[in-house]
Amino acid sequence: MSVLVFAPVQDGILKKLALEAVSFGVQLAHSLQSNCSVLCSSEISAEAHQQMQDLGVALCLKAEHDLMDFDAVVHDLTQAAARVGAQQLVISNTYLGKSVAPRLAVRLGMPLASGVIDVPKKSNDGWGIRRSVFSNKGYAFLQVKGHPCVMAITPNSFPIENRTVGECKTEALAVPFDGHQIKIQVNRVDRVVGKIPLTEAERVVSAGRGLKGPENWHLVESLAASLDAATACSKPVSDMHWRPHEEHVGQTGITIKPDLYIAIGISGAIQHLAGVSSSKVIVAINTDKEAPFFKVADYGIVGDAFDILPRLTAAVQRFKASHA
């Protein structure tokens, strides 16, 4: 019962979410007294290979496909699973994972558990898996019937832990995808440049209607820059086009789980909290000491954002300078 993890490669590098999935896969394999293989989407650097070896990966299979070609990813994962006899497949539940995992599960005839937030527990009947439901307003304990399973894990939920088991071998995946099934012709991809993508960010600075207008967002951006954080916003802010739609977090926007979420001038409506409440540490800044956000915050500051933001940014910069 070996484990197969999918690792998207970008310019030869494995980013944090890929390493998280690999580390999860190795731990899962360990609990099964088995080993973990990784399918890399393309050629990896010597450094990335060493990282995988340190994490405890036994075999690295290399594919050669475009990450935008989800059909090829599903095909290659199916081939790779057969090759190593994998019964557990692991993929990070990013946009790529969401497009690939459901199709893969059906193609392999395996159950799918999406939004996995703990390493699953094995019993004789199958897997016990905890996942977030109701937009983080609760947890469900899912029983998967039998042991084969595709697991789509929630980003930023697992540590990256080294566990050396020996040498990590490399093999090319011999059955290339011929592409005859490609029916979606991607013409162009607009990448967000110069910004940390919200879904990958470890720290997020977010603001709401309390900021009064788009012209004031430089205050939010300065704080975010000082913290190497991504920026986000509440729904009305994106509805009024103060900020782009992809920054809208909440029940009807993006759900995020960063280490640090700073909410500025956001009241804390239930739909907003649904998307951010599983952040590890929450800081709320609001003029109204009764604002609901303080009920879920770890740290609160009652005060005017226009006064606080420049001083908070300066304090972070001072801290950085003294800890450089």
């Binding site: 009807t252 540490v281 972070v316």
Partner: protein, 246 residues
């Protein structure tokens, strides 16, 4: 075009989520069920596509029990031509996807729309499974579509950006906000919906692979520590020393 829209129903977004004492299910007391917001977008877009092409038909399908019929009537009041309800408890994504595939196979649909996820179980699975079961392309997390009936221009969210693509009908797409604004039923729509067909079909498959054993509420925060607005250095040092997030 002949369009199929898959609708799930979910607790209203303002619902305070409470589980029953035995933890085995959601406490439905006083909970109002609405059409999943992403599916409402799918329905509106289906209507808009057909209006722009001057014809076609929109069918909504739901796997669930009779208590969802008011939402199916609402979908017809918004403008769907007919509704199909597969009479089964929707407990597992594969089971739902197989029921939907069975319905989709009974007719020739040019386009099958789902939501990107249902906001209750947050699975985000059914659309992709349905595409695979039907052997159709999947446009996941679609943010725009225009079509001439044979081929569509679409955009969809990808990690770190947005993709623009062409795809030939038929295909499955899952809908994301930005696609359109949901439509509200008017009086005439509500009157007309009363006489539109709502067909109930028996469940055809029993393919459940997973089961929720129990639910738990999230762990409550230990309480908010207020930091003096005048002392931002203190906040920074708390974030560094106590929380270790910077």
């Amino acid at each position: 075009m002949n369009i199929l829209v898959c609708l799930s129903q979910v607790p209203d977004t303002t619902t305070r989520i409470v589980f029953t004492a035995d933890g085995k299910s959601l406490d439905k007391n006083g909970v109002q069920f609405i059409i999943n917001p992403y599916d409402e977008l799918a329905l509106t877009k289906a209507l808009e596509l057909n209006e722009s092409m001057g014809g076609g038909r929109v069918t909504v399908v739901h796997v669930g029990r009779a208590d969802s019929e008011s939402n199916l009537r609402k979908a017809m009041a918004i403008g769907a031509d007919q509704a199909i309800r597969v009479d089964a408890d929707a407990t597992d994504a594969v089971q739902v996807a197989r029921e939907l595939a069975a319905i989709a196979s009974k007719d020739r649909y040019d386009l099958i729309l789902c939501g990107r996820e249902s906001i209750d179980y947050n699975g985000g699975m059914v659309g992709g499974m349905l595409a695979e079961l039907l052997g159709l392309p999947l446009v996941n997390i679609m943010t725009s579509i225009s079509s001439n009936g044979t081929e569509a221009e679409v955009s969809f969210d990808v990690d770190g950006g947005r993709a623009y693509a062409q795809v030939a009908h038929p295909f499955v797409a899952t809908c994301q906000k930005e696609l359109t604004e949901p439509r509200i039923p008017n009086m005439r729509g509500i009157m007309m919906a009363r006489t539109k067909p709502l067909e109930v079909v028996a469940a055809s498959v029993n393919a459940e692979q997973t089961q929720v054993l129990h639910y738990e509420p999230p762990v409550a925060k230990s309480g908010c520590r207020f930091v003096d607005a005048g002392d931002m250095d203190q906040l920074v040092s708390l974030l560094h020393e106590q929380s270790k997030v910077i």
